[in-house]
Every structure is written in structure tokens, then in C-alpha cells.
């Protein structure tokens, strides 16, 4: 019996040890006290693209010596967010805390109300809150629309596939903008939409994409990972999402909407340095006009796009960048055309 108990203790100790090791608090790169001290609290592992974009922008600012940056990730959605935020606010006393509030909205706002001197800058589908909660989101519907224009131009079968995670507003507006673009450049285009109800199940996403190819799709929008693998296998074109994903399918990935959090981060740093931080919706800093959203580099794939389509894309891109064209936001759940 004592052997059994020993075994149990070893198992528990191993799990405890590992879970501590799995969320390493990063050591600050430097101990410069004049730059703002920013802490980030991520609900998912930073390998998840959404939080990965935030982390990349903060890491870049830290590498450039503009901030002191520490972070923790994989906090999850089962109550740890509030505890961690309180610990950070009490013990680390950063100037600002970044993170994603999706699934943890109430916890984030509860803690923020107790620490009005710390700026809380969180990804959120809701609004800002005085005095210290600012919100941002991946407002990359504009480049998604441009991708739709291209998709309508390159499709031969007039069937375009979209594989998404969940039909939440953040995904819907990107998918709807893509569809709007596709129908604008190709009114005959039929768009198939499949949701896999997971943020991360690339095997399911690939199967969904293969099913769309079986239904005639010859261009795919890979809102999730896994779709590009299907495009490569069946030799059709695809668009990535969130980051430049050309490497996943050279000669198949044309471009894709890219989110860059640097304009948001730079703006908040500027506010912190000027002691002028205010609670606000930072969405504009994630859109094309301010450089927070863009089309991924073509890597030469623009040669596959019909000239008139490419001309239209370049024109619209310019208009979006200069503020002369404003895309309507549609967050209704998209469905496949029959």
C-alpha cells in the first residue's frame, strides 16, 4: 500500500513540476527603469496566432529598448486570470498590462477597477471603460476584403471555400468582408463556408477544406491552420490569415490578411511616456490606414492574379490606406451559398 501512495505522490509531483515549467515568466531583457514596464497575460499559449501577434509586437518593442516586458501565457478560462492579474498588479506593479479578455471579460474588468493607476489594454469584443481599460481587436476585415477581390478573380470554377473556427463576431466580419470582395470582383462566385468549432484542430480544418474542394472549390480562405495543407495537396490556391503564411504553401498561398499590433503598442507606449493614457477603443490602430492591418507579401504570387483584378485590388488598397474607402462591418453569421 505504501508503494501505491508513493506512486501517487510521484505522479502529482511530476504534474506540479511540469505545470510550473510550462508557463515560464520571462526574464526582462534589461533593467532600464525609465522605459514603461509592460506585463502581458495571455489566456492561450503564445503559439496561438491571436495572442502570438500581441506577443510579437510587445517583444519587438522590448528588443528595441522601448519597454521592459514580461509575460505569462496559457492562463486559460477557468478562473486563473483574475488571480494572476491581481498578483501582477500587487507584486510587479507594471505601468500597463496587455492581454486578451475574450472569455475572461469580467475578471479583467474587475481587477482593472481596483488598480486605476495601471493601464489595462486588452483584446476584447466589448467597449473601453474609464478610467483605465482600453480595448483592441483584430480588425483585419479590410485586407480580408482585398483577398476576396483576388479570390473572385483567380477562381476558374467560380466556387470559393472558407474554413473558419467559430462563427464569433471577430471571425464573421473577416469572412463576410472576404465574401463581399469575392462577389464584387466575381458576381457569379459561389462561396462555401464551413466552421469546425475549434480554434485549433488542423486535421479537421484540412478535412473541411478537402470536402469543399470535392464540392468544386478551387480557391480557399484559410481562416484556421490546416486548410493550406489541403490546398497544397490538391493544387489549388489559398489565402492565409493573421500572419504571412506563404511558407506553409509556396506557389499556393497568394497572400492573406495580416494583423500587426505594433501601431497599437507604439501608441500606448507614447501615451504612457507622456503620462496621458486614457481608456479608449484602439481599433483604428489595427486597421489598414494606421498600418495595423495589411496584405501579406505576394512573394511573386501576384503574377497569378488577372491584371484587371490586381489593378482593382491595388486601387482599393490605396483607398483604404488613405481613408477614401470605408468598408462596412458585417458581423452576422455567414453561411454557404446553395
Amino acid at each position: 500500500m505504501s508503494l501505491k501512495r508513493l506512486g501517487l505522490i510521484v505522479v502529482i509531483a511530476a504534474i506540479a513540476l511540469l505545470s510550473v515549467q510550462c508557463s515560464p515568466a520571462q526574464k526582462p531583457a534589461q533593467e532600464e527603469s525609465k522605459v514603461p514596464y509592460i506585463y502581458a497575460a495571455y489566456a492561450t499559449p503564445i503559439e496561438e496566432p491571436w495572442d502570438g501577434v500581441i506577443h510579437a509586437a510587445l517583444q519587438k518593442a522590448a528588443d528595441e529598448g522601448k519597454i521592459k516586458y514580461e509575460w505569462t501565457d496559457d492562463i486559460g478560462y477557468s478562473g486563473d486570470m483574475e488571480r494572476i492579474l491581481r498578483e501582477v498588479a500587487e507584486q510587479k506593479k507594471p505601468d500597463a498590462i496587455f492581454g486578451d479578455a475574450f472569455g475572461n471579460e469580467e475578471a479583467v474588468r474587475r481587477v482593472a477597477a481596483d488598480y486605476p493607476d495601471i493601464a489595462f489594454v486588452f483584446g476584447s469584443g466589448l467597449g473601453p471603460s474609464e478610467p483605465n481599460v482600453s480595448v483592441f481587436d483584430n480588425w483585419i476585415h479590410e485586407p480580408a476584403y482585398l483577398c476576396g477581390l483576388i479570390a473572385g478573380g483567380v477562381t476558374k470554377s467560380n466556387v470559393i471555400g472558407v474554413v473558419g473556427g467559430y462563427p464569433v463576431p471577430e471571425v464573421n466580419r473577416i469572412v463576410n468582408a472576404f465574401i463581399q470582395g469575392a462577389k464584387e470582383s466575381n458576381p457569379d462566385a459561389k462561396v462555401l463556408v464551413t466552421f469546425i468549432n475549434s480554434w485549433f484542430d488542423p486535421a479537421a480544418a484540412k478535412e473541411a477544406a478537402l470536402a469543399q474542394i470535392d464540392s468544386g472549390a478551387d480557391v480557399l480562405f484559410a481562416e484556421r491552420f490546416g486548410v493550406i495543407e489541403a490546398a497544397v495537396e490538391k493544387n489549388v490556391y489559398a489565402f492565409g490569415n493573421m500572419s504571412d503564411q506563404y511558407d506553409l504553401g509556396p506557389d499556393h498561398v497568394i497572400t492573406g490578411p495580416v494583423w500587426d499590433m505594433s501601431p497599437t503598442v507604439e501608441y500606448v507606449i507614447k501615451q504612457l511616456n507622456a503620462k496621458s493614457y486614457t481608456a479608449q477603443d484602439l481599433r483604428d490602430f489595427s486597421m489598414m490606414a494606421k498600418g495595423g492591418a495589411s496584405l501579406a507579401p505576394y512573394h511573386g504570387m501576384d503574377s497569378k492574379i488577372p491584371a484587371d483584378t490586381l489593378k482593382l485590388v491595388k486601387q482599393r488598397e490605396q483607398e483604404l490606406k488613405t481613408g477614401m474607402f470605408r468598408l462596412d462591418i458585417d458581423e452576422a453569421q455567414p453561411a454557404s451559398d446553395s
Binding site: 506512486g7 503559439e47 485549433f200 488542423p202 478537402l210 470536402a211 469543399q212
Partner: protein, 305 residues
């Protein structure tokens, strides 16, 4: 007709990883050990397979390494559940947490900071029947899928029912005292069953990273291990019936994706389609589960009095 052919081809593809793991679980449970480490072992196999294939440049080395890592994971489960006699639920879930955390930790050490998941050139698909109608597209499958359905399942069945080892394995899961009295080492048989099971589970995970995707990300297994456990019960611990279960699950999974892509404009939400494979599995479990004959010694650590 094209629809049915592509649906059938997808069914076999989707079923492969789950079937490999389910056959592994069949062996461990037949020997009296519920291995809830299945989900973690699949994940571990997917990672180790990908990592070794990536650094060595050889997919087969990756697959071999994944199987070895799965065998080691099975032996670790055996150490706790068989030698130490720890509660099988605790040790199994512990193993899943341990292996998932370990894989992600190692993944970050090696591939941390990449904006897109690392990828490799995956196993190619075979197409032995070329352009023949129906058979051609249906036969376009990965070698691992062929091996699973045509070699591993029949072999697993034959070993279980027609060899001395299989007899001992089944007996250990039903009445270990009697087996012990007959002079057979109960521990050794259970260790062997867990090693075989772990190897198959890891191979199932490696199928995802090395064949189906050619990439590794977190969430790559996404509950397929838990589905496999349900299929083992559905299949009444018989490799062929478990295969049938995996085909039902894979078939409804592939079907729902096609229904979504068809744009049927039905007055039901798309979630209905998504739930279909799980609903069918639960329904099948309810119907088949009434006749389920659990291995009598399942969940019971063996101790000589």
C-alpha cells in the same frame, strides 16, 4: 456517386488515427488497464514523430521514434498502474497532463517564436488503382491507412484470439488470480499490453503530424483519444467491431463537413452537423453498450495476497 466515393475515402482517412489508438486501448483494457493516458500519448507521438522527422529528414525515423516514445509512455503507465497499483483514472489522466505539457514545453524550446507552425513534407498518398472509376479515388490513401486496416487490425485480432500471448492477455484482464496460479507473470503481461497499446496510440498521433498534416501544432489531437475510448466500449473490446465503430465516427465526421459545404439552407443551425458524429457515437454506445461485457478485472490493480 462522386459524393459517396469522396465521402468513403475521407471516412478511411479520418478513421485511421482514431482506429490505431482505439486498437491500442483495446489491448490495454483487455489486460485490465484503462489507459486514460491515450490522449497525451497520441499528442506525444505526434510531437516526437514530427520532431524526429524534422531533424533527421526521414519520415520513417519519425514514425519509429513516435512508436518508441509511445511504448515508453505505456511502460510509464504500467509502472504506476501495475507496479505501484495507483488508481488507473489518476495515473492515466496524470500521464495525459504530463505528456501534453512535456510536448508543448519541448515544442517551445525547439520551435518557439514562430508565427506559423513548422511544417515538413508529409507522407505521400498512394493510388494503386490509378484512374479506375470509384476504386481509383477510393484507393488514394496513405500507406499508414492501408497498414492500419489491412495489417494491424487483423493482426491485432489474430494475436488476441489465436495466440498463447493473446489468451494470457485476455485472461489477465478477466481473472488475474487464476493466471497467476497457472504460473504466468501477470505484471509482465500487463506491461506488454500497455507497451503495445502505447505504441499504437503514439502511431495514431504520428499519423496526424506525419501523414495527414505534415505539421505539428497544439490541439492537433483535439480529443481523438477520448473518442477512441468510447469506440473501444462500443466495439465490445473486439478489434473488428472497434474498426466498425471508427468507420461510423469517421463517416459521420466526413459527412457533416460535406453537408456544411453543400449550402443546403436548412432551417437548422450548422452546429447540428458538427454534433452529428458525437451524437451517432453516443447513440451507438447506448445501443451497443447494453451488451458490453467489460473485462472483469478492468480498473483493478493486481496484488498477490
Amino acid at each position: 456517386m462522386d459524393f459517396i466515393v469522396s465521402l468513403s475515402a475521407a471516412t478511411l482517412r479520418v478513421a485511421t488515427s482514431i482506429l490505431l489508438a482505439a486498437i491500442g486501448e483495446t489491448y490495454t483494457e483487455r489486460a485490465g488497464v484503462l489507459n486514460l493516458g491515450i490522449e497525451g500519448t497520441m499528442f506525444f507521438g505526434a510531437f516526437v514523430g514530427f520532431y524526429v522527422a524534422d531533424i533527421s529528414g526521414s519520415l520513417w525515423s519519425g514514425l519509429l521514434a513516435a512508436i518508441i516514445s509511445g511504448i515508453l509512455a505505456g511502460l510509464l503507465m504500467a509502472l504506476f498502474s501495475v507496479s505501484f497499483g495507483v488508481n488507473q483514472h489518476v495515473s492515466g489522466l496524470g500521464l495525459t497532463l504530463l505528456l501534453s505539457g512535456l510536448s508543448l514545453y519541448a515544442f517551445r524550446l525547439r520551435y518557439g517564436g514562430l508565427a506559423t507552425p513548422p511544417s515538413i513534407e508529409p507522407f505521400p498518398q498512394l493510388r494503386p488503382f490509378g484512374d479506375l472509376p470509384i476504386l481509383g479515388p477510393l484507393s488514394e490513401q496513405y500507406l499508414l491507412t492501408y497498414l492500419t486496416f489491412l495489417v494491424i487490425v487483423p493482426l491485432a485480432w489474430w494475436i488476441l484470439y489465436y495466440t498463447d500471448f493473446g489468451l494470457k492477455l485476455r485472461a489477465v484482464g478477466e481473472n488475474p488470480e487464476a493466471v497467476d496460479a497457472a504460473g504466468v507473470n501477470v505484471y509482465a503481461i500487463r506491461y506488454a499490453a500497455l507497451a503495445i497499446g502505447g505504441g499504437l496510440m503514439a502511431a495514431g498521433g504520428a499519423f496526424l503530424s506525419l501523414a495527414q498534416l505534415g505539421a505539428f501544432t497544439h490541439g492537433i489531437v483535439s480529443g481523438r483519444g477520448w473518442v477512441a475510448i468510447a469506440l473501444v466500449i462500443f466495439g465490445n473490446w473486439d478489434p473488428f467491431k472497434v474498426t466498425l465503430g471508427s468507420l461510423i465516427f469517421g463517416g459521420t465526421f466526413a459527412l457533416q463537413l460535406r453537408l456544411q459545404a453543400m449550402g443546403l439552407q436548412l432551417p437548422i443551425p450548422y452546429e447540428t452537423f458538427l454534433a452529428l458524429p458525437y451524437l451517432v457515437t453516443i447513440l451507438a454506445l447506448v445501443l451497443a453498450g447494453r451488451n458490453a461485457s467489460y473485462p472483469a478485472a478492468l480498473l483493478k490493480p493486481y496484488r498477490r495476497e
